[in-house]
C-alpha cells in the first residue's frame, strides 16, 4: 500500500516536470511562429498579418506566467534537487527568454505596420528578411536541442552567433548610406534599423537558451566569453570607415 502511494507520488512528480518541459516547447513553437510571421509581414507589407502577430503576443506572456507558476509550485512542493532542479530552473529561464523574443517579434511587426505606409526600400527589406531567416533558424536549432536534450546542437548555436552580428553591422552601414544619400528615407531607415536591432537581440536570446540547455544537462555554466572570429564587437559607428 505504502509502496503504491510512493510510486504514485514519483510518477506525478515526473509528470509535472514533463508538463513544464512540454509547455516550454509549445511556447518555443509559438515564439518561432511569431518571428516567422513578423518577418513575413515586413517582406510582404502585410498589415493584417502584422496585426495578428501583435495580437498573439499576449498568449506568450500568459504561457510564460503559467510556466513560472508551475515551476514555483513544483519547487515548493517537491523540492527537486540536482538534475530535476536544474530542469525546472532552466524551463523558467528559457520561458523568460521566449517571452522577450515574443516582445521583440511584436515590435518588428509594429514597425512593419508603420513601414507599410511608406515608400518600399526593396534591397533593405531583403536584408532584413535574410537576417530574420538566419535568426529564425538559430531559434529552431536551439529549441530542437532543448526538446531532444542534445548538447551538441546547443553548443553549435552558441558558438555561431557572430554571423548575426556580421549581418547586423552590414545592414547598419547600408542604412547609413541610404539615409545620407536621400534624407527622405530616414523615417523608413530608422524603423528598419530598430528592426535589425530587435532581430539581433532575438539572436542573443537564442544564445541564452543554448547556455541554459548546457547548464540544465551538465550543471556547468558556459564560459561567458564566447569564441569570436575577427573579435569584432564594437558598434560600426565607432569604427574607422574602411
Amino acid at each position: 500500500m505504502m509502496d503504491s502511494t510512493n510510486q504514485h507520488t514519483v510518477r506525478a512528480y515526473g509528470d509535472e516536470l514533463n508538463q513544464i518541459t512540454a509547455d516550454v516547447a509549445r511556447m518555443g513553437g509559438l515564439a518561432e511562429a511569431q518571428i516567422a510571421d513578423a518577418i513575413e509581414s515586413v517582406s510582404r507589407r502585410d498589415a493584417e498579418l502584422a496585426q495578428q502577430v501583435i495580437a498573439r503576443d499576449a498568449r506568450l506572456d500568459e504561457l510564460q506566467r503559467e510556466i513560472e507558476r508551475k515551476a514555483i509550485r513544483l519547487i515548493a512542493l517537491r523540492q527537486p534537487v540536482a538534475t530535476d532542479l536544474r530542469r525546472t530552473v532552466a524551463a523558467m529561464k528559457i520561458a523568460t527568454d521566449l517571452e522577450r523574443t515574443g516582445d521583440l517579434a511584436r515590435s518588428v511587426a509594429k514597425r512593419g505596420l508603420s513601414l507599410s505606409d511608406l515608400e518600399p526600400l526593396a534591397p533593405l527589406t531583403r536584408s532584413i528578411e535574410r537576417m530574420g531567416k538566419l535568426v529564425a533558424k538559430r531559434m529552431k536549432a536551439v529549441l530542437d536541442a532543448y526538446v531532444t536534450s542534445e548538447i551538441a546542437g546547443a553548443l553549435d548555436v552558441w558558438s555561431h552567433d557572430d554571423d548575426v552580428d556580421e549581418h547586423y553591422n552590414a545592414l547598419f552601414r547600408e542604412l547609413l548610406t541610404y539615409m545620407m544619400a536621400d534624407p527622405r528615407t530616414i523615417t523608413s531607415c530608422a524603423h528598419l534599423l530598430f528592426m535589425a536591432k530587435n532581430l539581433e537581440r532575438i539572436g542573443d536570446h537564442a544564445t541564452n537558451i543554448a547556455e541554459m540547455i548546457h547548464y540544465e544537462i551538465t550543471g556547468d555554466e558556459l564560459d561567458t566569453a564566447r569564441p569570436r572570429q575577427g573579435a569584432d564587437d564594437t558598434p560600426v559607428s565607432e569604427k574607422e570607415p574602411s
Binding site: 514519483v10 510518477r11 515526473g14 509528470d15 514533463n18 508538463q19 518541459t21 512540454a22 509547455d23 516547447a25 509549445r26 518555443g28 513553437g29 509559438l30 518561432e32 511562429a33 516567422a36 534591397p123 531583403r126 536584408s127 535574410r130 537576417m131 531567416k133 529564425a136 533558424k137 531559434m139 529552431k140 536549432a141 529549441l143 530542437d144 526538446v147 531532444t148 551538441a152 546542437g153 553549435d156 555561431h160 554571423d163 556580421e166 549581418h167 553591422n169 552590414a170 545592414l171 547598419f172 552601414r173 547600408e174 572570429q229 575577427g230 569584432d232 574602411s242
Partner: protein, 421 residues
C-alpha cells in the same frame, strides 16, 4: 456473414491492445506496440509504414496536460522528417508549430478534422500541408488522431519561381532593350551613312544581345536549380576531377586576363555525393569570378581538402579577415565533408558587402569586372546548388587582401530514415 465476424475479431484484438496502452505508464521500459499488424485485418502497420507521406498517430491525455499528447506511431517518412521514433514520445518534442498543435487538439478533443500548413525553418525551404483526422476507437475511451503530412513544396516553388522569373527578366532586360532601341533609331537616322559609327554601334549591340542571352540562360538555370533544391542529388562526383576540367575550360578567359589558376593541394579522395555538372558549375562560377575581379596577371589558387568534420569545414582559413557563412547546412551528426577553397588576389570586399553577395543581380559598387561583365547571378546559382547538395558556403575577405570563397559538400548520403526499432 464472414465480414462481420472478421471485423468483430479484429476489433477485439484492437480492444486488447488498446487496453495495454491504457495501462502503460511512461516509466515502463518500453511502450506496448500498437498492433496494427493483424493477420485477419491485414498488415495495416506495414501499409502505413510504406506510405511516402509522413503519418503520425497521436494519443491525447488530460486536456490540460500537453506532455500527455504522445506519438504512438510514426511511419518511416515521419521518422525522417520529425526525427522521432514513434514510441510514445511527447508530440511537442517533434512538432511545436502552434497551428498544428491546435489542429491536433481539435481532432482529439473536439473530434473535428482540420488542415493547416507547416513550414519548418531549415536550410531548405519546405512547405507541408497537414491534415488531422480524429481516430475514434468506439467505447474504449481513448482519444487519438491521425496526422498526415503532404509535401506541397513543389507547387509552392513553381508559383514563386514564375513570379521571380517574370519580375527579374522584365526588370533586367528593360535597360539593354532600351539601349538597343536607341542604337537602332540612331542607325536608321543620322548615323545611316557614317560607316565608322555604324560598325561601332553594331559591336555594342552584339555585346548587349550576347549579355541578354547569357542573362536568360542564367535565369533559366537558376529557376531549374531552385525547383529541385529540396531533392538531394543521388550520384557521386570527384571534386578534384571537376576542378581540373574547369581549369581546362577556362583557358581562353585566363589567356584574355593573362592570369593563372593553380590547384595548390588536393586530397587522395575527393569524391562527394553530387551532380557532376552542377559541381562543375559551382567551381567554374567561383573561379571565373576570382579571375574577373583580380585584374590582369593575377594568380588564383584552388585548395581541395578532404575528410573534414563540419566544424573543420567551417573553420576560418585566414586570421585577419571579415568572414561570413553565406550558407550553413542543417546540422547532422557524423557527416564528413570535402572542401574547395578558391583564393584570389583581387581588391577584396568591404565587410558590409558580404551578406548581399548571393543576392540576385547584386553588384558591389565600384568593382570592375573587365570587358565582359557577368550576369550578377553567378553566386546566387552557386548558393542554390550547394544548398541542394546539403553543403555550405563561406566567404572571407579584407579590403586590399583578396577574397576567399569556401564551399563544402558532404561525402556521404545524408542520414536516411531510421529503421523501426
Amino acid at each position: 456473414m464472414p465480414e462481420t465476424s472478421l471485423g468483430h475479431r479484429a476489433s477485439s484484438r484492437w480492444k486488447a491492445a488498446l487496453a495495454a496502452f491504457r495501462n502503460w505508464s511512461p516509466e515502463a521500459v518500453s511502450p506496448p506496440v500498437l498492433p496494427l499488424v493483424d493477420a485477419e485485418a491485414g498488415d495495416f502497420r506495414a501499409a502505413l509504414e510504406s506510405l511516402p507521406d509522413p503519418v503520425l498517430i497521436v494519443e491525447g491525455g488530460a486536456v490540460g496536460n500537453l506532455s500527455a499528447r504522445r506519438i504512438l506511431f510514426a511511419n518511416a517518412a515521419a521518422r525522417g522528417l520529425l526525427k522521432v521514433e514513434g514510441r510514445g514520445e511527447p508530440l511537442v518534442a517533434a512538432l511545436r508549430d502552434p497551428q498544428a498543435l491546435d489542429a491536433v487538439d481539435a481532432a482529439i478533443y473536439g473530434e473535428i478534422a482540420g488542415e493547416t500548413t507547416y513550414e519548418p525553418a531549415g536550410a531548405q525551404d519546405r512547405f507541408w500541408r497537414i491534415s488531422v483526422t480524429p481516430l475514434t476507437a468506439a467505447g474504449l475511451g481513448r482519444k487519438m488522431a491521425v496526422v498526415r503530412f503532404r509535401d506541397e513544396t513543389d507547387s509552392q516553388r513553381i508559383e514563386r519561381m514564375r513570379a521571380d522569373f517574370l519580375a527579374n527578366a522584365s526588370h533586367e532586360l528593360k535597360t539593354p532593350l532600351a539601349s538597343l532601341q536607341g542604337f537602332i533609331e540612331t542607325l536608321k537616322g543620322h548615323a545611316r551613312d557614317d560607316e565608322r559609327a555604324r560598325d561601332r554601334f553594331l559591336d555594342i549591340m552584339a555585346a548587349q544581345t550576347a549579355r541578354m542571352s547569357r542573362l536568360i540562360a542564367d535565369l533559366l538555370a537558376l529557376s531549374r536549380i531552385e525547383l529541385s533544391e529540396h531533392i538531394s542529388p543521388a550520384g557521386r562526383a570527384d571534386v578534384a576531377r571537376a576542378t581540373t576540367d574547369v581549369m581546362d575550360a577556362l583557358a581562353p578567359l585566363l589567356a584574355e586576363h593573362d592570369s593563372r589558376v593553380e590547384l595548390v593541394e588536393r586530397p587522395t579522395d575527393a569524391t562527394v555525393v553530387g551532380d557532376r555538372d552542377q559541381i562543375i558549375q559551382v567551381i567554374q562560377n567561383l573561379t571565373e569570378n576570382a579571375v574577373r575581379y583580380s585584374g590582369r596577371g593575377s594568380r588564383v589558387g584552388i585548395h581541395i581538402l578532404g575528410d573534414l568534420s563540419l566544424a573543420e569545414a567551417q573553420a576560418p582559413s585566414r586570421s585577419d579577415s571579415a568572414r561570413l557563412a553565406l550558407l550553413t547546412p542543417d546540422r547532422e551528426g557524423g557527416v564528413r565533408y570535402v572542401l574547395i577553397r578558391v583564393v584570389d588576389q583581387g581588391e577584396g570586399l568591404a565587410r558590409e558587402n558580404l551578406p548581399r553577395l548571393t543576392e540576385r543581380f547584386y553588384r558591389v559598387e565600384g568593382q570592375k569586372s573587365g570587358a565582359s561583365p557577368g550576369t550578377g547571378l553567378g553566386l546566387s546559382i552557386v548558393k542554390h546548388i550547394v544548398n541542394r547538395h546539403r553543403g555550405g558556403l563561406i566567404v572571407e575577405s579584407q579590403k586590399g587582401h583578396g577574397t576567399t570563397f569556401s564551399v563544402y559538400f558532404p561525402v556521404t548520403e545524408r542520414r536516411g530514415v531510421t529503421e523501426p526499432g
